[in-house]
Protein backbone atom coordinates (compact mmCIF):
# COMPACT_ATOMS: atom_id res chain seq x y z
CA UNK A 1 0.00 0.00 0.00
CA UNK A 2 2.77 2.38 0.94
CA UNK A 3 4.50 1.54 -2.27
CA UNK A 4 1.43 2.47 -4.23
CA UNK A 5 1.15 5.85 -2.52
CA UNK A 6 4.84 6.41 -3.04
CA UNK A 7 4.47 5.58 -6.73
CA UNK A 8 1.52 7.89 -6.99
CA UNK A 9 3.38 10.77 -5.33
CA UNK A 10 6.41 10.29 -7.51
CA UNK A 11 4.49 10.26 -10.72
CA UNK A 12 1.82 12.75 -9.77
CA UNK A 13 2.78 15.19 -12.52
CA UNK A 14 2.17 12.53 -15.18
CA UNK A 15 -1.36 12.02 -13.93
CA UNK A 16 -1.90 15.74 -13.82
CA UNK A 17 -0.60 16.07 -17.36
CA UNK A 18 -2.99 13.40 -18.55
CA UNK A 19 -5.92 15.03 -16.74
CA UNK A 20 -5.16 18.48 -18.15
CA UNK A 21 -4.84 17.15 -21.68
CA UNK A 22 -8.06 15.19 -21.38
CA UNK A 23 -9.86 18.24 -20.04
CA UNK A 24 -8.65 20.43 -22.89
CA UNK A 25 -9.55 17.80 -25.46
CA UNK A 26 -13.04 17.57 -23.96
CA UNK A 27 -13.31 21.35 -24.17
CA UNK A 28 -12.26 21.23 -27.80
CA UNK A 29 -14.75 18.55 -28.72
CA UNK A 30 -17.86 19.39 -30.64
CA UNK A 31 -20.25 17.61 -28.31
CA UNK A 32 -22.07 19.78 -25.81
CA UNK A 33 -22.66 18.84 -22.23
CA UNK A 34 -24.41 20.99 -19.68
CA UNK A 35 -21.29 21.88 -17.69
CA UNK A 36 -19.43 22.70 -20.87
CA UNK A 37 -22.26 24.91 -22.03
CA UNK A 38 -22.29 26.65 -18.68
CA UNK A 39 -18.55 27.27 -18.76
CA UNK A 40 -18.77 28.70 -22.24
CA UNK A 41 -21.59 30.97 -21.07
CA UNK A 42 -19.55 32.25 -18.12
CA UNK A 43 -16.62 32.97 -20.45
CA UNK A 44 -18.90 34.79 -22.82
CA UNK A 45 -20.48 36.90 -20.10
CA UNK A 46 -17.23 37.95 -18.47
CA UNK A 47 -14.98 38.36 -21.48
CA UNK A 48 -17.57 39.59 -23.97
CA UNK A 49 -18.02 43.11 -22.52
CA UNK A 50 -14.26 43.61 -22.05
CA UNK A 51 -13.62 42.58 -25.60
CA UNK A 52 -16.41 44.78 -26.91
CA UNK A 53 -15.06 47.88 -25.18
CA UNK A 54 -11.58 47.14 -26.36
CA UNK A 55 -12.74 46.65 -29.94
CA UNK A 56 -14.52 50.00 -29.77
CA UNK A 57 -11.31 51.64 -28.51
CA UNK A 58 -9.35 50.16 -31.38
CA UNK A 59 -12.06 51.18 -33.82
CA UNK A 60 -11.58 54.80 -32.82
CA UNK A 61 -8.11 54.77 -34.36
CA UNK A 62 -9.61 54.15 -37.78
CA UNK A 63 -12.38 56.76 -37.46
CA UNK A 64 -10.31 59.39 -39.28
CA UNK A 65 -10.00 57.14 -42.28
CA UNK A 66 -13.69 56.35 -42.18
CA UNK A 67 -14.44 60.06 -42.00
CA UNK A 68 -12.45 60.72 -45.14
CA UNK A 69 -14.38 58.03 -46.97
CA UNK A 70 -17.67 59.54 -45.86
CA UNK A 71 -16.54 63.01 -46.96
CA UNK A 72 -15.68 61.66 -50.39
CA UNK A 73 -19.05 59.96 -50.60
CA UNK A 74 -20.76 63.20 -49.56
CA UNK A 75 -19.01 65.08 -52.33
CA UNK A 76 -19.93 62.46 -54.90
CA UNK A 77 -23.58 62.84 -53.83
CA UNK A 78 -23.50 66.64 -53.68
CA UNK A 79 -22.02 66.89 -57.15
CA UNK A 80 -25.22 65.34 -58.49
CA UNK A 81 -27.41 67.89 -56.74
CA UNK A 82 -29.84 69.76 -58.94
CA UNK A 83 -28.40 73.19 -58.18
CA UNK A 84 -25.04 72.12 -59.60
CA UNK A 85 -26.34 72.26 -63.18
CA UNK A 86 -27.84 74.64 -65.68
CA UNK A 87 -30.66 73.02 -67.61
CA UNK A 88 -31.07 73.99 -71.20
CA UNK A 89 -34.11 72.05 -72.27
CA UNK A 90 -35.83 75.15 -73.61
CA UNK A 91 -33.15 76.43 -75.94
CA UNK A 92 -33.74 76.32 -79.63
CA UNK A 93 -31.06 73.74 -80.20
CA UNK A 94 -32.40 71.29 -77.66
CA UNK A 95 -35.92 71.64 -79.04
CA UNK A 96 -34.70 70.77 -82.49
CA UNK A 97 -32.79 67.64 -81.54
CA UNK A 98 -35.46 65.16 -80.57
CA UNK A 99 -33.14 62.62 -79.02
CA UNK A 100 -32.45 64.97 -76.17
CA UNK A 101 -36.02 65.93 -75.45
CA UNK A 102 -36.42 63.35 -72.67
CA UNK A 103 -33.14 64.26 -71.08
CA UNK A 104 -32.78 68.00 -70.80
CA UNK A 105 -29.39 69.18 -71.87
CA UNK A 106 -27.56 70.02 -68.72
CA UNK A 107 -24.31 71.84 -68.20
CA UNK A 108 -22.31 71.50 -65.04
CA UNK A 109 -22.01 74.90 -63.39
CA UNK A 110 -20.50 74.05 -60.00
CA UNK A 111 -17.99 71.51 -58.81
CA UNK A 112 -17.07 70.36 -55.31
CA UNK A 113 -13.94 69.43 -53.44
CA UNK A 114 -13.10 69.34 -49.74
CA UNK A 115 -10.44 70.48 -47.29
CA UNK A 116 -9.71 70.54 -43.57
CA UNK A 117 -9.55 73.65 -41.45
CA UNK A 118 -6.13 74.00 -39.84
CA UNK A 119 -6.53 77.39 -38.19
CA UNK A 120 -9.45 79.63 -37.40
CA UNK A 121 -10.58 82.55 -35.29
CA UNK A 122 -14.15 83.19 -34.28
CA UNK A 123 -13.90 85.80 -31.53
CA UNK A 124 -12.06 88.59 -33.33
CA UNK A 125 -13.40 91.55 -35.23
CA UNK A 126 -11.83 90.27 -38.46
CA UNK A 127 -12.10 86.53 -38.36
CA UNK A 128 -10.48 84.20 -40.84
CA UNK A 129 -9.86 80.51 -41.49
CA UNK A 130 -6.91 78.66 -43.03
CA UNK A 131 -7.41 75.37 -44.88
CA UNK A 132 -4.92 72.72 -45.94
CA UNK A 133 -5.39 72.98 -49.69
CA UNK A 134 -3.97 75.55 -52.07
CA UNK A 135 -3.47 76.41 -55.70
CA UNK A 136 -1.67 73.11 -56.32
CA UNK A 137 -4.86 71.32 -55.28
CA UNK A 138 -6.93 73.37 -57.66
CA UNK A 139 -8.15 75.99 -55.23
CA UNK A 140 -8.62 79.49 -56.62
CA UNK A 141 -9.86 82.86 -55.33
CA UNK A 142 -13.58 83.41 -54.82
CA UNK A 143 -14.44 79.76 -54.41
CA UNK A 144 -17.35 79.21 -52.08
CA UNK A 145 -16.85 77.38 -48.78
CA UNK A 146 -19.60 75.43 -47.04
CA UNK A 147 -19.85 72.75 -44.43
CA UNK A 148 -22.46 70.09 -43.70
CA UNK A 149 -24.40 72.54 -41.51
CA UNK A 150 -24.40 75.57 -43.78
CA UNK A 151 -22.43 78.27 -45.54
CA UNK A 152 -18.96 79.16 -44.23
CA UNK A 153 -17.51 81.88 -46.46
CA UNK A 154 -15.39 82.63 -49.50
CA UNK A 155 -11.75 81.90 -50.35
CA UNK A 156 -9.78 85.14 -50.23
CA UNK A 157 -6.10 84.29 -50.72
CA UNK A 158 -4.42 81.22 -52.13
CA UNK A 159 -0.85 80.05 -51.69
CA UNK A 160 0.69 76.87 -53.05
CA UNK A 161 -0.55 74.54 -50.33
CA UNK A 162 -2.86 76.62 -48.17
CA UNK A 163 -5.71 79.07 -48.57
CA UNK A 164 -7.38 81.61 -46.37
CA UNK A 165 -11.10 82.02 -46.08
CA UNK A 166 -13.13 85.10 -45.26
CA UNK A 167 -16.00 83.60 -43.29
CA UNK A 168 -19.41 85.13 -42.80
CA UNK A 169 -17.95 86.39 -39.52
CA UNK A 170 -16.03 89.18 -41.22
CA UNK A 171 -17.22 92.73 -41.78
CA UNK A 172 -16.24 92.59 -45.45
CA UNK A 173 -18.21 89.45 -46.15
CA UNK A 174 -21.43 90.07 -48.06
CA UNK A 175 -23.43 87.10 -49.20
CA UNK A 176 -26.43 87.39 -51.44
CA UNK A 177 -29.34 85.57 -49.81
CA UNK A 178 -33.06 84.91 -50.11
CA UNK A 179 -35.64 84.42 -47.37
CA UNK A 180 -37.25 81.15 -48.15
CA UNK A 181 -41.04 81.37 -48.58
CA UNK A 182 -41.18 84.78 -50.24
CA UNK A 183 -37.89 84.57 -52.12
CA UNK A 184 -36.96 88.18 -51.47
CA UNK A 185 -33.29 88.83 -52.16
CA UNK A 186 -31.14 90.52 -49.54
CA UNK A 187 -27.58 90.52 -48.26
CA UNK A 188 -26.21 88.75 -45.20
CA UNK A 189 -23.64 90.80 -43.29
CA UNK A 190 -21.97 90.38 -39.92
CA UNK A 191 -21.31 93.20 -37.49
CA UNK A 192 -21.33 92.09 -33.94
CA UNK A 193 -18.93 90.05 -31.90
CA UNK A 194 -21.37 87.14 -31.61
CA UNK A 195 -20.25 84.33 -33.96
CA UNK A 196 -23.76 82.95 -34.14
CA UNK A 197 -25.70 85.99 -35.29
CA UNK A 198 -25.59 87.94 -38.56
CA UNK A 199 -27.94 90.45 -40.17
CA UNK A 200 -29.99 90.22 -43.32
CA UNK A 201 -30.20 93.61 -45.05
CA UNK A 202 -32.12 95.16 -47.91
CA UNK A 203 -35.46 93.51 -47.17
CA UNK A 204 -38.23 96.10 -47.71
CA UNK A 205 -40.45 96.89 -44.79
CA UNK A 206 -43.77 95.93 -46.33
CA UNK A 207 -42.82 92.27 -46.61
CA UNK A 208 -43.89 89.80 -43.98
CA UNK A 209 -40.99 87.86 -42.50
CA UNK A 210 -41.66 85.24 -39.86
CA UNK A 211 -39.33 84.09 -37.14
CA UNK A 212 -37.88 80.74 -38.13
CA UNK A 213 -37.87 81.37 -41.88
CA UNK A 214 -34.77 79.94 -43.53
CA UNK A 215 -32.24 82.19 -45.15
CA UNK A 216 -30.70 80.54 -48.22
CA UNK A 217 -28.08 81.53 -50.76
CA UNK A 218 -29.59 83.16 -53.80
CA UNK A 219 -27.13 81.95 -56.40
CA UNK A 220 -26.90 85.43 -57.92
CA UNK A 221 -23.34 86.07 -56.85
CA UNK A 222 -21.95 83.27 -59.03
CA UNK A 223 -20.02 82.09 -56.03
CA UNK A 224 -22.57 80.05 -54.12
CA UNK A 225 -24.99 77.66 -55.78
CA UNK A 226 -28.62 78.36 -55.13
CA UNK A 227 -30.38 77.14 -52.02
CA UNK A 228 -27.61 76.48 -49.49
CA UNK A 229 -28.66 77.15 -45.90
CA UNK A 230 -27.14 80.21 -44.25
CA UNK A 231 -29.30 80.38 -41.16
CA UNK A 232 -32.77 81.03 -39.79
CA UNK A 233 -34.52 84.28 -38.95
CA UNK A 234 -34.24 84.97 -35.24
CA UNK A 235 -35.64 88.46 -34.76
CA UNK A 236 -37.41 91.01 -37.00
CA UNK A 237 -37.65 94.72 -36.26
CA UNK A 238 -38.05 98.01 -38.09
CA UNK A 239 -34.64 99.54 -38.68
CA UNK A 240 -33.42 103.10 -38.32
CA UNK A 241 -33.58 103.47 -42.04
CA UNK A 242 -37.33 103.18 -42.15
CA UNK A 243 -37.67 101.61 -45.57
CA UNK A 244 -35.89 98.36 -44.64
CA UNK A 245 -36.32 95.73 -41.97
CA UNK A 246 -33.57 94.77 -39.54
CA UNK A 247 -33.46 91.00 -39.49
CA UNK A 248 -31.30 89.03 -37.10
CA UNK A 249 -30.20 85.69 -38.56
CA UNK A 250 -29.05 82.78 -36.44
CA UNK A 251 -26.25 81.23 -38.48
CA UNK A 252 -26.57 77.52 -39.21
CA UNK A 253 -22.82 76.93 -39.16
CA UNK A 254 -21.18 76.36 -35.81
CA UNK A 255 -17.83 78.01 -36.53
CA UNK A 256 -16.30 76.80 -33.30
CA UNK A 257 -16.61 73.16 -34.30
CA UNK A 258 -15.67 73.53 -37.94
CA UNK A 259 -13.34 70.85 -39.24
CA UNK A 260 -14.10 69.54 -42.73
CA UNK A 261 -15.27 72.11 -45.26
CA UNK A 262 -16.52 71.71 -48.82
CA UNK A 263 -15.21 74.03 -51.52
CA UNK A 264 -17.44 74.89 -54.44
CA UNK A 265 -16.05 76.16 -57.70
CA UNK A 266 -18.10 77.98 -60.30
CA UNK A 267 -16.77 76.54 -63.55
CA UNK A 268 -18.06 79.44 -65.65
CA UNK A 269 -17.43 82.32 -63.32
CA UNK A 270 -15.07 84.19 -65.67
CA UNK A 271 -17.58 84.02 -68.46
CA UNK A 272 -20.41 85.41 -66.34
CA UNK A 273 -18.17 88.04 -64.81
CA UNK A 274 -17.12 89.28 -68.24
CA UNK A 275 -20.78 90.00 -68.96
CA UNK A 276 -21.24 91.65 -65.60
CA UNK A 277 -18.21 93.88 -66.17
CA UNK A 278 -20.12 95.81 -68.82
CA UNK A 279 -22.27 97.34 -66.11
CA UNK A 280 -20.64 99.95 -64.00
CA UNK A 281 -22.46 99.53 -60.70
CA UNK A 282 -20.33 96.70 -59.30
Amino acid sequence: MNNLIEFFKKNFHYFLLAILLVVSIIMMGKSMSYSKYKFARICQNTIGPIQKNWAEMIHKFSLGQENDLLTQQNIALMRENENMFIYKNDTVISMMSKTDSLHPRSMRLYDYTYAHVIYKTTDQAFNYLIIDKGSKDGISRDMAVTCPQGVVGVISDVSDHFSSIIPILHPDSRISATVSPINQVGTVVWEGPNPQVAYLENIPQHLEINIGDSVLTSGFSNIFPKGLLIGTVKEVSVGKNASFLTIKVKLATNFNKLNTVYLIENLHKAEIDSLKANFKNE
Binding site: H13, L17, S24, M28
Partner: protein, 172 residues
Protein backbone atom coordinates in the same frame (compact mmCIF):
# COMPACT_ATOMS: atom_id res chain seq x y z
CA UNK B 1 10.40 35.37 -3.21
CA UNK B 2 11.33 38.21 -5.50
CA UNK B 3 11.73 35.70 -8.28
CA UNK B 4 8.20 34.38 -7.73
CA UNK B 5 6.66 37.83 -7.88
CA UNK B 6 8.55 38.79 -11.00
CA UNK B 7 7.51 35.55 -12.70
CA UNK B 8 3.87 36.07 -11.84
CA UNK B 9 3.93 39.70 -12.94
CA UNK B 10 5.66 38.78 -16.17
CA UNK B 11 3.07 36.15 -16.99
CA UNK B 12 0.15 38.46 -16.25
CA UNK B 13 1.64 41.28 -18.31
CA UNK B 14 2.41 39.00 -21.21
CA UNK B 15 -1.09 37.51 -21.17
CA UNK B 16 -2.69 40.95 -21.24
CA UNK B 17 -0.41 41.99 -24.10
CA UNK B 18 -1.41 38.85 -25.95
CA UNK B 19 -5.17 39.15 -25.64
CA UNK B 20 -5.37 42.92 -26.12
CA UNK B 21 -2.71 43.58 -28.74
CA UNK B 22 -1.11 40.53 -30.32
CA UNK B 23 -4.44 38.85 -31.03
CA UNK B 24 -5.39 41.83 -33.18
CA UNK B 25 -2.30 41.53 -35.36
CA UNK B 26 -2.99 39.71 -38.61
CA UNK B 27 0.12 40.11 -40.67
CA UNK B 28 -0.63 39.25 -44.33
CA UNK B 29 -4.06 38.22 -43.11
CA UNK B 30 -3.06 35.07 -41.26
CA UNK B 31 0.04 35.54 -39.09
CA UNK B 32 -0.77 36.15 -35.43
CA UNK B 33 2.16 36.04 -33.03
CA UNK B 34 1.87 34.03 -29.81
CA UNK B 35 3.87 36.36 -27.63
CA UNK B 36 2.56 34.96 -24.35
CA UNK B 37 4.94 32.01 -24.70
CA UNK B 38 7.59 34.47 -23.54
CA UNK B 39 6.24 34.17 -20.01
CA UNK B 40 6.06 30.38 -20.12
CA UNK B 41 9.48 29.86 -21.67
CA UNK B 42 11.17 31.89 -18.94
CA UNK B 43 9.61 29.91 -16.08
CA UNK B 44 12.31 28.44 -13.84
CA UNK B 45 12.91 24.78 -14.57
CA UNK B 46 13.25 23.85 -10.91
CA UNK B 47 9.59 24.59 -10.34
CA UNK B 48 7.62 21.41 -9.52
CA UNK B 49 6.46 19.87 -12.77
CA UNK B 50 2.81 19.70 -11.81
CA UNK B 51 2.81 23.45 -11.11
CA UNK B 52 4.46 24.12 -14.45
CA UNK B 53 1.73 22.14 -16.20
CA UNK B 54 -0.99 23.97 -14.32
CA UNK B 55 0.48 27.38 -15.18
CA UNK B 56 0.74 26.39 -18.84
CA UNK B 57 -2.78 25.04 -18.89
CA UNK B 58 -4.39 28.10 -17.34
CA UNK B 59 -2.38 30.57 -19.43
CA UNK B 60 -3.52 28.76 -22.54
CA UNK B 61 -7.09 28.64 -21.27
CA UNK B 62 -7.04 32.38 -20.61
CA UNK B 63 -5.96 33.10 -24.17
CA UNK B 64 -8.52 30.61 -25.44
CA UNK B 65 -11.32 32.40 -23.65
CA UNK B 66 -10.55 35.49 -25.69
CA UNK B 67 -10.25 33.73 -29.01
CA UNK B 68 -13.24 31.39 -28.55
CA UNK B 69 -11.11 28.32 -29.10
CA UNK B 70 -11.53 26.67 -25.69
CA UNK B 71 -8.92 24.02 -25.06
CA UNK B 72 -6.68 24.55 -28.05
CA UNK B 73 -4.04 26.82 -26.56
CA UNK B 74 -4.49 25.12 -23.18
CA UNK B 75 -3.52 21.74 -24.61
CA UNK B 76 -0.65 23.18 -26.65
CA UNK B 77 0.79 25.03 -23.66
CA UNK B 78 0.51 22.00 -21.41
CA UNK B 79 2.39 19.96 -23.99
CA UNK B 80 5.21 22.46 -24.38
CA UNK B 81 5.55 22.71 -20.62
CA UNK B 82 5.88 18.93 -20.63
CA UNK B 83 8.53 18.72 -23.34
CA UNK B 84 10.48 21.78 -22.18
CA UNK B 85 12.85 19.97 -19.77
CA UNK B 86 13.70 17.40 -22.44
CA UNK B 87 14.50 20.13 -24.95
CA UNK B 88 16.73 21.88 -22.45
CA UNK B 89 18.50 18.61 -21.71
CA UNK B 90 18.94 17.82 -25.37
CA UNK B 91 20.25 21.28 -26.17
CA UNK B 92 22.71 21.19 -23.28
CA UNK B 93 24.20 18.05 -24.78
CA UNK B 94 26.68 15.96 -22.79
CA UNK B 95 27.61 18.80 -20.48
CA UNK B 96 26.08 17.96 -17.17
CA UNK B 97 25.34 21.17 -15.45
CA UNK B 98 23.47 21.71 -12.23
CA UNK B 99 19.72 21.64 -12.70
CA UNK B 100 19.29 25.25 -11.57
CA UNK B 101 19.84 27.41 -14.59
CA UNK B 102 18.36 30.48 -16.10
CA UNK B 103 17.33 30.39 -19.69
CA UNK B 104 18.24 33.96 -20.52
CA UNK B 105 20.78 35.75 -22.71
CA UNK B 106 24.17 35.98 -21.05
CA UNK B 107 23.71 32.60 -19.42
CA UNK B 108 22.88 30.88 -22.70
CA UNK B 109 24.33 31.88 -26.02
CA UNK B 110 22.34 33.14 -28.97
CA UNK B 111 22.32 29.85 -30.87
CA UNK B 112 21.02 27.98 -27.85
CA UNK B 113 18.22 30.49 -27.30
CA UNK B 114 17.20 30.48 -30.96
CA UNK B 115 16.88 26.71 -31.02
CA UNK B 116 15.11 26.63 -27.65
CA UNK B 117 12.57 29.34 -28.46
CA UNK B 118 12.23 28.32 -32.09
CA UNK B 119 11.56 24.67 -31.39
CA UNK B 120 9.06 25.23 -28.60
CA UNK B 121 7.11 27.90 -30.48
CA UNK B 122 7.08 25.61 -33.47
CA UNK B 123 5.60 22.76 -31.43
CA UNK B 124 3.10 25.14 -29.90
CA UNK B 125 1.99 26.58 -33.23
CA UNK B 126 1.90 23.14 -34.83
CA UNK B 127 -0.45 21.95 -32.11
CA UNK B 128 -2.58 25.09 -32.13
CA UNK B 129 -3.09 25.17 -35.88
CA UNK B 130 -3.59 21.42 -36.17
CA UNK B 131 -6.04 21.26 -33.28
CA UNK B 132 -7.93 24.24 -34.60
CA UNK B 133 -8.39 22.82 -38.07
CA UNK B 134 -8.41 19.16 -36.89
CA UNK B 135 -7.71 17.98 -40.40
CA UNK B 136 -5.07 17.81 -43.10
CA UNK B 137 -7.60 19.21 -45.50
CA UNK B 138 -6.03 22.55 -46.32
CA UNK B 139 -2.56 21.41 -45.45
CA UNK B 140 -0.56 23.97 -47.45
CA UNK B 141 -2.42 26.85 -45.84
CA UNK B 142 -1.96 25.37 -42.39
CA UNK B 143 1.73 24.88 -43.06
CA UNK B 144 2.27 28.50 -44.10
CA UNK B 145 0.33 29.62 -41.03
CA UNK B 146 2.44 27.42 -38.74
CA UNK B 147 5.73 28.58 -40.22
CA UNK B 148 4.72 32.24 -40.37
CA UNK B 149 3.44 32.23 -36.79
CA UNK B 150 6.50 30.41 -35.54
CA UNK B 151 8.95 32.78 -37.20
CA UNK B 152 7.16 35.91 -36.04
CA UNK B 153 6.52 34.65 -32.48
CA UNK B 154 10.06 33.42 -32.03
CA UNK B 155 11.44 36.67 -33.38
CA UNK B 156 9.34 38.80 -31.02
CA UNK B 157 10.12 36.57 -28.03
CA UNK B 158 13.86 36.65 -28.73
CA UNK B 159 13.74 40.42 -29.10
CA UNK B 160 11.94 40.67 -25.77
CA UNK B 161 14.50 38.42 -24.10
CA UNK B 162 17.38 40.56 -25.30
CA UNK B 163 15.58 43.76 -24.37
CA UNK B 164 14.60 42.72 -20.84
CA UNK B 165 17.76 40.74 -20.06
CA UNK B 166 20.52 42.64 -21.82
CA UNK B 167 23.83 40.81 -22.08
CA UNK B 168 26.42 42.20 -19.67
CA UNK B 169 29.84 43.28 -20.91
CA UNK B 170 32.19 40.51 -22.02
CA UNK B 171 34.76 41.21 -19.33
CA UNK B 172 32.35 40.12 -16.66
Amino acid sequence: MNNVVSNILRIILVLLLQVFICNYIHLFGFITPAFYLFGLLLLPLELPKSIQYLIGFFCGLFVDMFTHTLGVNAAACTVIMFIRPFIVKALNGRKTSDSVERLIPGVKDFKWLVSYVGFLTFVHQLLVVMLETLSFHNFLHSLTAIIGNTVLSAFIILCAEYIFYPVQGKNK
